[in-house]
Symmetry: C2
Subunit: 293 residues, 2 copies
Amino acid sequence: MIAIDWGTSSARAYRLDPAGAIRESRETGSGILHVPPMTFAAALRALVGDWIDAGERRVLLSGMVGSRQGWREVAYRPCPAGIDDLRAGLETVPFEPGVTVRIVPGLSAADEAGIPEVMRGEEVQVFGALAGRREGLLCLPGSHSKWVRVRDGRICGFTTGLTGEAYAALRGHTILGRMMEGEPVPGEAFDAGVRRAQDAGGLLHHLFGTRALGLFGRLSPAEGASYLSGLLIGHDVRENLPPGGGTVDLIGAGPLMTLYARAIAARGGAARSGDADAAARGLALIGEGLAWA
Amino acid sequence: MIAIDWGTSSARAYRLDPAGAIRESRETGSGILHVPPMTFAAALRALVGDWIDAGERRVLLSGMVGSRQGWREVAYRPCPAGIDDLRAGLETVPFEPGVTVRIVPGLSAADEAGIPEVMRGEEVQVFGALAGRREGLLCLPGSHSKWVRVRDGRICGFTTGLTGEAYAALRGHTILGRMMEGEPVPGEAFDAGVRRAQDAGGLLHHLFGTRALGLFGRLSPAEGASYLSGLLIGHDVRENLPPGGGTVDLIGAGPLMTLYARAIAARGGAARSGDADAAARGLALIGEGLAWA
């Protein structure tokens, strides 16, 4: 089977053996934003044509490829939702004779106030990361960080924060950025930002405090980005980690994983490091129980 | 006397009569960022030379003109601080023979966590707006919004939020801006943002919700900016208005005053509209009791 996590800016393809193990994988910059409408079949061939020619007949896609801007808009499935619900929401798109291409639906939910939440692709990573476990709190750090709650084998709800995008906008386009050099690193300045996020006053006040600390020489340009990152990730963790802590499964890769793990630990939680190929494992689980045409 | 509120991007000059009433006023774009170092005396002459030639001998300056980037760095006075403390911290800068030019110091404070706070210029506006009253909660909306607490005639503390600058960065440089047209206006979308700010979940989550509401067609492009503004101002008010409400004196001018008044009312408070010339009245009060050279 071929499994592809096809997102906005990139696509990651896996060739899986019948047991679901990864035989081969590749990543390209052909995210859906780079694929003109009506040319997704050609993009798929460009991405994994050699695997198809080698005999693969089943292709499962997840992520933004199922959005309005993707190959076909596949309706969100409402939470709570398990793997069976994802299977039930699959849609087949036309491709070459003898090859079946299916897109996994995203999930929708609402928070306590009835404000909608959506995800596309993360739901597959969550089931892949759980690897059969039926309970958990998972976090996918990023531009739009997601905290996902799983009970009895189903995603019962999730919460998204604009954490990463807010960091980039504040760093790049406010007075705060002018007092910062370099990228965030795990260390004392990051920890100070995380601690600050626990104080009263709210994020907007804490942000200005970053500036004030700089003015008074208590935050150096080399420390600024780490402090700001700690502040934002600290707020994200503060709102989403349960009061007593608990264990969080982190999904993803890169420096953000270390930073989130550090912030979660500072709040009394424990972070379990993520499987970078969770999408492949999730797609394998969905494909496993499926009656292919 | 000549009173000048000399800020970063503009300067507002007033000619006051002996009783402190405004005889004349003018505003220029000659904020301190536009005045090269060592040329402040020339900038002052360009701004109010005719008034000096007409016989004015006393000039009182407040605002960023007293910062490191201004005419002279005047040390912050610590809170609590009254008008007498501002007088005690005045510094005289050299100008033309027979004319005395003095700069009012800014104020510093610390919040509960010991993080520093600073203001330059707002302290003068606060005393001007109070017009002799000895108690109050005042709010100066803007890029860096300030909430100032006055007890027994002294500024006992204040809190700054990056509210306006965060709005501009999020509006201009995140995915949220792409779903918005026009400027914030007082109305139902703004109110919905203010209400949303009272919910659990935190600002980062509420920001993402703006996007989700747009995706589901529950927030139109025409409503987006108002909702985002309501969200940020709502968070600012939530953190700074005492539980029970109370009266807030707003200082400033322009559309932000209406929006803040509306958000304060939605939280059970009452807003009193500001005196746009509060700086002139504050400088008059400081000048009044002063022994001029």
